[in-house]
């Protein structure tokens, strides 16, 4: 197991990383290495990633087109979104992109990515991402997953942490604590969903005021089908996952909103018990999406943990 190398916190222009191996050109290109130490083509690529605006691209993995947004420089931080998908580059990514190369794919089945016929369940999704890490030759990845994305991150990590440096689970699904039900996200109407997701009434009202275009409605339905495919039965957990969480051998940070009505904070405590050496941060006055509802405390908590993990 290639454990994460302990290095000091990465700075955009001074990030240290292991020397690239042969055949790992993409990793070089996407690293935060100073442009002047690299070949001309790499220079251009790095300059691209130094742009303040995020880039959008599509890559092909296992015959499926995957839509990826990315921005910033530093060690790779792969953000795995939740059931609702990611409609745009969020302020939280800008914050994280100050120190990391933030990579935000639309999962296969979701958003602007393809719907692979072979992708049936969460296990397929985990192996897909292991292939994606290889395809992009990403190493020392900080894996951050919210809700459904946290579940995917866990399923990846129990299979292999060879390319993973740290794991951040934000209101993660994936396990079931007996007697502690999660909200049934499939049963809720849009208003109930907004009220369950956020504490802040302003955010609730913003969400309720949204008038999706027909294209956005299509994407919302696509994401709901994808979520159902992965997590309808049993609801958003893998009954076997808890047995294998001991295999997670990278620094793990569990982040939870204290008022999460979708997956109650009890689940944060449960993950802390199941993942040896993990750290739990509870964010006050916060619902299921800390990265949106409490961006600053979220970024502080995540950054300080990652700095130590690095």
């Amino acid at each position: 197991m290639a454990r994460a190398k302990k290095t000091s916190r990465a700075k955009p222009a001074k990030a240290k990383r292991a020397a690239p191996k042969a055949g790992a050109k993409k990793a070089v290109r996407r690293s935060a290495a100073p442009a002047k130490t690299r070949a001309t083509s790499a220079k251009a690529a790095v300059q691209t990633f130094n742009q303040p605006k995020p880039s959008e691209s599509t890559i092909e993995v296992l015959g499926s087109k995957i839509f990826i947004r990315r921005g910033g420089v530093g060690e790779p931080l792969l953000f795995l979104h939740g059931a609702g998908g990611i409609p745009m580059w969020l302020p939280v990514f800008d914050q994280l992109a100050k120190n990391y190369h933030v990579i935000v794919p639309d999962h296969p089945l979701f958003g602007r990515s393809d719907v692979p016929e072979w992708l049936d369940d969460i296990s397929d999704m985990a192996y897909f991402y292991l292939d994606l890490l290889e395809k992009l030759d990403l190493r020392n990845v900080h894996l951050v997953g919210n809700s459904l994305g946290g579940w995917i991150a866990l399923e990846i990590a129990v299979r292999s942490t060879a390319r993973i440096k740290s794991l951040t689970l934000v209101s993660a699904a994936g396990i079931h604590v007996k007697g502690v039900p999660k909200a049934d996200i499939f049963m809720m109407n849009p208003e109930e969903t907004a009220r369950a997701l956020f504490v802040d009434d302003k955010l609730i009202q913003q969400m309720l005021a949204m008038q999706p275009t027909p294209e956005q409605m299509d994407t919302i339905y696509k994401n709901r089908i994808a979520t159902a495919k992965l997590g309808w039965q049993p609801r958003l957990f893998n009954p076997k996952l808890h047995k294998w969480l001991h295999r997670i051998n990278v620094p793990t940070h569990i982040v939870w909103g204290d008022s999460d009505k979708i997956i109650p904070p009890t689940y944060g405590d449960a993950f802390k018990k199941l993942i040896s050496g993990s750290k739990l941060t509870v964010i006050p006055n916060c619902g299921h999406l800390p990265q949106i509802e409490r961006t600053q405390p979220f970024v502080s908590a995540v950054s300080s943990f990652l700095a130590k993990a690095a």
Binding site: F186, M187, N189, P214, Y221, K222, I225, K229, W232, Q233
Partner: protein
Amino acid sequence: MKVFFFHLMPYAYLDLGYQREYKSVWINYPNTNFDPVKGHELYNRYLDELELAAELGYDGICVNEHHQNAYGLMPSPVVMASALSRRTKDCKIAILGSAFCLREHPLTVAEEHAMIDVITGGRLISGFVRGIGAEYFSMGVNPALSHERHTEAHDLVVQAWTRPGPFAFEGKHYHFEYVNVWPRPYQKPHPKIWCPSLGSVETIEWSCHPDRKYTYAQNYSPFDSVLRYLNLVRETCEKMYGYTASSEQIAWTAPIYVAETDEQAVAECGVHMERLFNLFLQLPFELLFPPGYLTAESYGRLIKHKKSITGGATIESLMSAGIVVVGSPDTVRRTLIERHKQAGFGSLTCLLQFATLPRDLTEKNLRLFAREVMPALQAIDDRNYAGFKLRQAAE
């Protein structure tokens, strides 16, 4: 035309004020609201009504499957069909239908259907349904896999009924090493298959396939919508598959009430008819259409047309939309003959008991319809049908 009597077996003792606390009578409406003593009375009353229909000369009697609700008390229509199989002699017994795909073991239902077919000497009609969206909550089955499970369960069941066993069935959702159903069904090659639907292009395309040619039955819809979907059956057969649909492939299901006069009919059934749509069938969008239950295309069409079949109905709106047919024998007879002229359905399934319609009115409805309306319907055939025009088909 064949005329069938369809029973839903509702829990007629429903607390009519349930909406104070609950959104619908499906999924999580507590079963403490079911009184088994009243249930005993209802089941036996409803079976009496089905048996009466058989005696009155209806071509068939129909039961169906719904789970964990007060709308229809038949989680297993097979139990009711079994009870009816020895109490009736000539009529068809139609299970409209069984949700094979809600089972992890569709073969158990295939065996039960085969048993009924053998007991009745081939009087079974087997309906293949996916169940409504709410069922996917109640039974813990993934709606995103509903279509694939449905078609695969169908393949498994039909092969189990028709292929010499034992054989291995190697599907994605169903894999059995030894398929060898005893008994085999009485009818050859298997019982007639119906596909009841609330209106689905996918179901029409699937049921019309030349390998199947099943009967598509349109339920609970405004008549202009019924006409569009039934025409789409003919159009699909013609344009997609290159054959002319038989009227036997087309059925319409509608709530019907007959009384001595038009006014009396409305007065007697109005409140019960409204309860069927506003109370028993009331379902929030999320429960009716869980993700994946409809294909993205169908879902898009639904959002576009903002169609709804539940809530806010009045007897007048239901009648004027042609969702229900209510009136004197003369009115109902003329209306149904005219509808047949337009749509050419080979079978009409009549919901003659609905919601809280009591025993006496149900029996009156059954008898009056059988005496004054049904003979004229049974006497008509394709010669009454005006014929199919392609431009009438659904979008």
